[in-house]
């Protein structure tokens, strides 16, 4: 039954004949342009996230309340964005992208330095804002809008334009330095191009170029970033310094075993051995307290959201919608893969949270905004192909 439900959106449903002359009453979902299955999966994830956060925050209910409030805001944003017709989004794309770019430049010039990195733009007392968060959505929006109008698969000159639109913000964010976000923004853009039909030859060429550029990248890394990579390769080399995080997180996950130590019973988490346990490393708390079973269930939940999201994207009525939706969903998966990979020690430590489970940040709001756009694309589709 579930499978049926998941695939329901894909079927182009014919408009049913109006019965007894009265126009068909639209269902709640149709009126709100929301997808019930995606919404259900997301709400389950949010609730599970709050439960884990309660444990990870050292059972501080105020932290959970703050996060819950943020979730309500995020859901509201999703609801509002779902009502925007995709055509409006298409028109606003250059505006959003341009504004994001300007703010990134502003951060470069006047930004606040927080935690050793320039990431914040602040009008004191009014708002503190991370322009790179806006870019996470503005980037795929812009590229999808651009490529949606072009003949696909994209030509060389289109790709050049895309490369510039992609490259400038990514470099600016990387310079802040915020490698994690820059990676996510870059992925969001790259996914649009890939989904648009970038030729395999070109993909191979890019991969080769990337491999060749690795040493160059290494030279340009900050010392602490290099340290992270080295630590990833051999965490035991500095067990009390930069290796500490990864040793403690793998210890937490590994000691969880098959069934876990039980909710609120994880010694690594509750006794504060696990660093950043309610933000970037929260999944280690899950692994310790709920074991392999809990981990796999949450991974399955994420997987279902991704697949459902891709179905919805595929059902969009135009290329713009498909590219945008697909990119949003795939970027969401990158979060999960990079975060879980990092915490479990198969990827270097890059500052990527696990939304919406990780505490704080605007990333949960951004994420739900993305899903709002996805639902709008799906909910506003014309029911019959042109």
């Amino acid at each position: 039954m579930t499978w049926m439900g998941l695939t329901k959106g894909l079927r182009a449903r014919p408009v049913r004949a109006p019965q007894s002359g009265i126009s068909r009453r639209k269902s709640l979902w149709e009126r709100t342009h929301l997808d019930p299955w995606l919404l259900l999966l997301l709400v389950v994830l949010l609730v599970a996230g709050l439960a884990i956060l309660y444990s990870a925050s050292g059972q501080r209910i105020e932290v959970v309340m703050a996060q819950g409030t943020r979730f309500l805001v995020a859901l509201a944003v999703m609801l509002v964005l779902a009502q925007l017709p995709p055509g409006k989004l298409l028109r606003w794309a250059p505006l959003a992208y341009g504004a994001g770019l300007l703010m990134l430049i502003a951060v470069e010039v006047v930004g606040d330095v927080g935690m050793g990195a320039q990431r914040w733009l602040e009008i004191p007392g009014v708002i503190r804002f991370q322009p790179s968060e806006l870019m996470k959505l503005a980037m795929p929006l812009m590229l999808a809008a651009w490529l949606g109008r072009r003949e696909l698969p994209p030509r060389w000159n289109d790709l050049l334009v895309c490369a510039v639109m992609l490259g400038v913000p990514v470099v600016l964010i990387a310079k802040q330095p915020d490698l994690g976000t820059s990676l996510l923004v870059g992925c969001a853009g790259v996914f649009v191009v890939l989904l648009a039909g970038l030729s395999w030859r070109f993909i191979g060429l890019l991969a080769a170029a990337a491999a060749a550029a690795l040493p160059l990248l290494w030279i340009n890394l900050h010392n602490y970033q290099r340290q992270r990579v080295l630590t990833f390769l051999n965490p035991e080399s500095d067990p009390l310094g930069s290796g500490w995080n990864i040793i403690q997180s793998t210890t937490a996950i590994g000691s969880g075993g098959l069934w876990g130590k039980g909710w609120l019973q994880g010694t690594q988490s509750q006794l504060e051995f696990l660093p950043e346990r309610h933000t970037d490393f929260i999944v280690a708390v899950l692994g310790e307290e709920f074991g392999l079973v809990g981990m796999l269930l949450v991974l399955l939940l994420y997987l279902l959201i991704v697949i459902r999201g891709l179905w919805l994207s595929a059902a969009a009525h135009d290329t713009f919608g498909r590219l945008l939706g697909g990119s949003i969903v795939l970027t969401f998966f990158i979060y999960v893969f990079v975060n879980v990979g990092m915490v479990s020690g198969i990827l270097p430590v890059v500052g990527v949270p696990l939304p919406p489970v990780s505490y704080g940040g605007t990333s949960s709001v951004t994420l739900m905004a993305g899903f709002g756009i996805l639902m709008s694309i799906h909910g506003h589709r014309r029911l019959l192909p042109r």
Binding site: E151, L195, T251, G257, T267, I346
Partner: protein, 635 residues
Amino acid sequence: MRDRRKTLKNPEQELRIFRVRAFLAVLTILLLTGLLAGRLVYLQVVQHEVYTTRSEKNRVRVEPLPPTRGLIYDRNGVLLAENRPTYNLTLTRERVEDLDTTLDRLEDLLELAPEEAEGFRLRARQPQRPFQPALLMSDLDEIQIARLAINRHRLPGVEVEAQLLRYYPDAHVMAHALGYVGRINTDELKELDPGRYAGTHFIGKTGVERFYEDVLHGQAGLRQVETNARGRVLRELGRTDPVPGRNLTLTLDKELQLLAYELLDDRRGSIVAIAPRTGEILAMVSTPGFDSNQFVTGIDFASYRELQEDIDLPLFNRAIRGQYPPGSTIKPFLALAGLAEGVITPEKTINDPGFYQLPNDSRRYRNWLRWGHGRVDMERAIAVSNNTYYYSLAHDLGIDRLHERMSAFGFGRRVGHDIFGESSALMPSRDWKRARFNQSWYPGETLSVGIGQGYWQVTPLQLATATAVLANRGQWVKPRLARQIGDEDVPAQLPETPDDIVIDNDAWWDRIFAGMEKVLTGQEGTARRTGEGLEYRMGGKSGTAQVFSLGQDQRYNADELAERLRDHALFMAFAPLEEPEIAVAVIVENAGGGSTHAAHLARAITDAWLLEEEAPDVEEVREVMESDTGTVAGN
């Protein structure tokens, strides 16, 4: 242009491309998720045991429980060394985020002076066992404790630890005899059993504290605790209690010790009193004393320098390490040697013209009385401290027999049973001189030794011990400081006690004692002023040790020099004559002749010990002493 491109768009193809790409994306996603799942299976199933162990090690910490150090009492149960509750500042380097910042913060909070801060930083960097807290500062006051408590969250790895700290109520009086405890230093750390000393910061450095370290320390206990990442203890999982150190009851009498200290007060010197029957040391004082409590909390550099550079050498334990020529105090022992070897008889006399000459040698060895004592027998030779008699006696004995006989009394060897850091001083011999100077022994040197000068050097403890053996009529007792260890008495028969001194005729002891009694009560006795009004029979012998030269590292100061060139005053005595209960040796540096100074102090000690009434008034003793302008010059 724009329109032309738009017309070329092919929605069907674009949808197809998207579907293929999305399908490939799903495949990739499944692959990557499978990778993550594989990693999780590896961590949580395959390596589960490894990580469980690691997580247990994280949370469970074994904490040492240091034992309580044993208390030290005097023979009457008066507390001499106690443990006072104090608050110490400790730092665990492994839990500190940034050592320099933390130390800066601590300095500000505690308002440390720069010198204090220096020692502070030094201690923080001293090598430690991993995760063992290092002691930064002892004896915090209430304000400091409060400040640290408020700022605790800013100072991870820094703890205020309640600890019992050694305290010596009569530090100056007891410093040399008791010794003191101090922080365990790097060298000691290497030698110590880490299990026994886990959590202990202090160790006996000198004196009784050092010698009985094993007894006093006890055995550390352990407790397993659950801690969080910042090292805060959350609950106890298991525990082995520490075994406290055993208490020690000493042979010292605090009152007598105090009296001896006050008698010597403003001078440099030493008094050692021994119970001849048992070898129990009743008093052992070296002046000037010092405040040993300073060493417990960690003395600052300036104070330590001051103590070290003090010309009076307050840190120097004269009682067991001070080496003085014994002067005439050894005349009774030499007389006994002469009797035993048949060189003299009690009745044998010599004629003293005021000097002695070796055969075929024009050099005159002078008596202290220029015109001589005339006819002198053994008892008179002791009473008036005649040198000529002893030149002759020493010459007739020869250095070999003299050395052997004097060694039997303990001269030139360590005599104590439980004395830390005792010097053996020097009883010269032919062999010693050859080894030391590669020279043969000259007959004239034997004469110097015969009046307790020359190379011969004794410690106050040696002199008191020899006096006790003499008072015992040759029966040896080893001087000791411990009376009871815990509840067990220290056995009277101590190991490695030297052989008793046996002579052919027991009556000779009485003749020697008679001579010694005349020193105090005879008309000619060198200490007859001291003997006035004696309420018991007492034997003694005065001595004067010549100070030949100043030590090399002593600074030149005209006034000081004159004072420091004066002779040392010595006196040895025991009482009562019939049943000796106390033997005492007194040495007062640069006080002039022994009969005028040291003898009065010895009498004050024996009075205090033997008479029922209150201890003699120190002021009174001093007055008598000052009115004694010297019964006789010289001795």
